[in-house]
Amino acid sequence: MPINYYIYLSIALFIIGIIGVLTRRNAIIIFMCIELMLNAVNLLLVAFSKMHHLLAGADNAFAGSDAQLFVFFIMVVAAAEVSVGLAIIVMMYRNTHSVDVNFLNRLKH
């Protein structure tokens, strides 16, 4: 399977995440769209690691495993990010009784 198809698929997933961030006002949905974008990047990294492995040939058996470990670390950081982010959203809900991000515009003044 050519790498182009994976690039297009990842771009499409990433754009769907961006459109979700731009069109929704629920803070939790926006957060989920960020996860979607992270997953698009992960998919592209794995596809490129397999491409690199194929191009490196038989002399380097571990070529491409760096990218898969990057994906692993992205997942680790995403798990930590979600726990803190959801705690912030819960705190925001307790203060404003809503998850609407438009209520946060008081940070302006």
Partner: protein, 164 residues
């Protein structure tokens, strides 16, 4: 068309459809469920690329832990279709047009790239044995630092989440 190509196209269509349903659903609980479907299809892509370790970690960490956390928070806040804040039609249209423009630019920029093949269904760098060797030889320090990151995230979540 071979079976792997057929699997690729089916998984891609399912991924894109469920990703669109995530942002199109009015009810946040449905959005979470569609996002779980998306993560499962992305895990299917990982298995197709023979990255079994990442496929299993994706299911356990994302579909198992993170999405359950999202679902708990949504159910705790009792969000449903009626409480869902909506943007005006024009803002939604503007967001979709902006995203579509970015899609056009990215695809136009990458249209003439060289098409190297990826290997599907074989190659063993994605197996846990090989990844473990690299992880615990070259990436020991980041691995240990990520445990500190988890500890600080845990402390941060408790400090932010607790009442005054």
């Amino acid at each position: 068309m071979s079976i792997t190509q057929l699997l690729f196209w089916m998984l891609s269509i399912m991924t894109l459809f469920s990703a669109i349903m995530v942002i199109a659903s009015k009810n946040p609980v449905y959005s979470v469920l569609w996002l779980i479907v998306t993560f499962f299809t992305i895990s299917g892509h990982y298995i197709l690329l023979n990255a079994q370790f990442l496929a299993v970690v994706n299911i356990i960490v994302y579909a198992g832990a993170i999405m359950v956390l999202f679902l708990f928070v949504i159910m705790l806040m009792n969000l449903n279709k009626d409480t869902e804040p909506q943007k005006s039609k024009w803002l939604k249209l503007a967001g979709a047009v902006a995203g579509g423009c970015l899609l056009l630019v990215l695809i136009a920029a990458l249209r003439n790239t060289e098409a190297n093949p990826t290997e599907l269904m074989h190659g063993d760098i994605g197996l846990i044995q090989n990844l473990g060797k690299v992880l615990f030889n070259q990436y020991v320090v980041p691995f240990e630092i990520s445990s500190v990151l988890f500890l600080s995230a845990m402390v941060g979540a408790v400090v932010i989440g607790k009442k005054e």
